[in-house]
């Protein structure tokens, strides 16, 4: 049943139903409403969880790391500068193979200070070993949390994940969301069964010193697990679809790509605007489609190649910039499509909360079809 609610509240409600045992987070715009709601739920005994208040994001994720190692299902949420402060702990959580799920309310990074949306924060942690999922709307955001726990806690994976949704554009938007009941969530997501945990009776060490004889093998194992997460996500997404009727069996999702000459590639809430723009362009006879990237890590290179067969031009929308080398998604799409003969152009767009309209999407397609790309779209040159 659809209910009308704020995106942040939908996240808090679904996290509650995922039954985390330990929650630790530090409030930061635009993530704040999520953790306020969860703190309230814990205080009201609606969740049987320990809510650990801390003085920083570094401590929040450290508390989650310890609790996860002790065998608890844990949850955190952050954004932007908060995620930057977690940098060290993020790498440790992945290296210790701890299935933490953390919501990222995507926001730009300073300086200059900006509270508004882009995806620079989570993209900048792309090499950390965390899975990364991006949601188009608040329904998908809620659903991906359940799927994320399933995938992360799979004993073949055992890695943490970000569930990313765009700050303000989704966090603060009220729209209809269907939330499954507690019983339905329990049927999909069984209680956490740790592969190993800290236990005084059976002592173990996590994150030990690794000499040059061992370090590379640890890194190899993490990379293999991330690669396996590809199939685990497809399976968990398909089973989600069977139970709830919303299919997430794709790391990518095509929209009107059949017979398309030009494909846009995007992640997150911008995909909704792109779909509307694609419909309008189709009405005018232009053969345009969208490939939405749902999982950025593991990167779905093969899925992208398969989905774009027959396309001649690709325009990638990057809400991030790898300073000195273009957008992160565009760079990886170009690598995936190397040798395919497809022309791939990258567009840095919507940084720091700049609004994107349907006409901007049309303008990007125009540029790509003229062979003009690898640029910042919509720059106000008069202030440069």
């Amino acid at each position: 049943m659809l209910e009308f609610m704020e995106g942040s509240h939908a996240v808090a409600e679904i996290v509650k139903r995922c039954r985390p045992q330990v929650i630790s987070a530090y409030p930061i715009t635009p993530q704040t409403h999520i953790v306020e709601d969860l703190a309230q739920m814990v205080a009201n005994c609606e969740i049987d969880a320990e809510y650990i208040t801390v003085e920083s994001e570094f401590s929040a994720l450290s508390a989650c790391l310890g609790a996860s190692a002790a065998g608890s299902r844990v949850y955190s949420a952050t954004t932007s500068q908060g995620l930057a402060l977690m940098f060290e702990v993020c790498f440790n959580a992945a290296g210790m193979r701890l299935p933490i799920v953390m919501t990222i309310a995507n926001r730009s990074l300073g300086a200059p200070l900006s509270i508004w949306n882009d995806q620079q924060d989570s993209i900048s942690l792309r090499d950390s070993g965390w899975l990364q999922f991006y949601a188009e709307d608040n329904q998908e955001t809620a659903d991906l949390h359940m799927i994320a726990y399933r995938v992360c806690e799979d004993h073949d994976i055992l890695l943490p994940s970000f569930v990313c949704f765009d700050g303000f554009i989704l966090t603060h938007t009220f729209e209809p969301v269907a939330l499954p009941t507690q019983e339905e969530v329990d049927a999909y997501l069984p209680a956490f069964n740790p592969y190993q945990r800290l236990d005084a009776a059976n002592p173990l060490s996590f994150g030990m010193y690794a000499t040059p004889e061992y370090y590379m093998e640890f890194r190899y194992e993490i990379d293999r697990a991330l690669q396996r997460a590809n199939k685990a996500f497809v399976k968990a997404g398909r089973e989600f679809g069977e139970q709830f009727g919303r299919d997430y069996s794709g790391l990518v999702e095509g929209y009107r790509l059949d017979d398309a000459d030009t494909a846009l590639i995007a992640m997150g809430s911008i995909c909704g605007t792109v779909k509307d723009a694609v419909d309008e362009m189709r009405e005018r006879g232009r053969k345009v489609g969208l490939l939405k990237i749902r999982a950025y890590r593991p990167f779905p290179a093969q899925e992208i190649v398969d989905a774009l067969k027959g396309v001649s031009t690709v325009a990638v929308l990057d809400k991030n910039i790898s300073l000195g080398n273009g957008g992160a998604v565009g760079t990886e799409v170009k690598a995936a499509l190397y040798g395919s003969g497809i022309s791939v152009y990258d567009y840095i767009i919507a940084l720091g909360g700049r609004d994107v309209r349907k006409k901007d999407i049309v303008a990007v397609v125009d540029l790509a079809e003229k062979g003009e790309g690898d640029l910042f779209y919509g720059l106000r040159t008069e202030v440069l």
Binding site: L2, T29, E175, R357
Partner: protein
């Protein structure tokens, strides 16, 4: 933002898809804020801000001096403006119908505070016909409880009747 949320919620209760979202400048009470609402018979995917509104609500008339609140409106549009000064001077685009309401006074009388969200929601419902009184009241009663709910419903109904909605 509260007015946008409540209007979108009432529209959803009335059986359509709706979406409400803010565009924050700075997050503090009293700072100029825009909030947007969309209704549709189909699921709403579009995330851009609204540049060509069918309807606008201006909660603070002093903004009219600094901002072109009618920007993007075209003939057939409806504007609802909260002001205590019915002779307020502003230029209205051709074909846009303007409703003036002293929502601040109604809110002060009914709620005891100059918070005009629910009053203007009643005015919006009457002026546009987009939401009925019943879903409006339902939205208010799920947002507020007890006597606060009663007071807000009364404020909304007063505005609804004043603008000329059939009660």
């Amino acid at each position: 933002m509260t007015a946008a949320e409540l209007i979108a919620y009432a529209a959803f209760e009335g059986g359509v898809f709706s979406q409400a979202f803010p565009a924050f400048g700075v997050e503090r009470r009293g700072a100029p804020v825009q909030a947007f609402v969309r209704f549709s018979d189909e699921k709403i995917r579009l995330r851009s801000q609204i540049y060509e509104p069918d309807y606008i609500i201006v909660q603070d008339p002093t903004l009219i001096r600094d901002v072109d609140v009618f920007n993007g409106m075209s003939s057939g549009g409806i504007a609802i403006i909260n002001t205590e000064k019915p002779d307020l001077d502003f230029r209205v685009p051709e074909g846009v119908k303007v409703y003036i309401i002293d929502a601040t006074t109604i809110a002060l009388e009914e709620l005891g505070v100059p918070i005009t969200n629910t009053t203007l929601m009643g005015a919006f419902a009457a002026a546009t016909g987009e939401i009925g009184l019943e879903p409006l009241e339902h939205a208010l009663r799920s947002r507020f409880s007890g006597s606060m709910a009663d007071k807000n419903v009364r404020a909304a109904e007063r505005a609804y009747t004043l603008i000329g909605g059939a009660a």
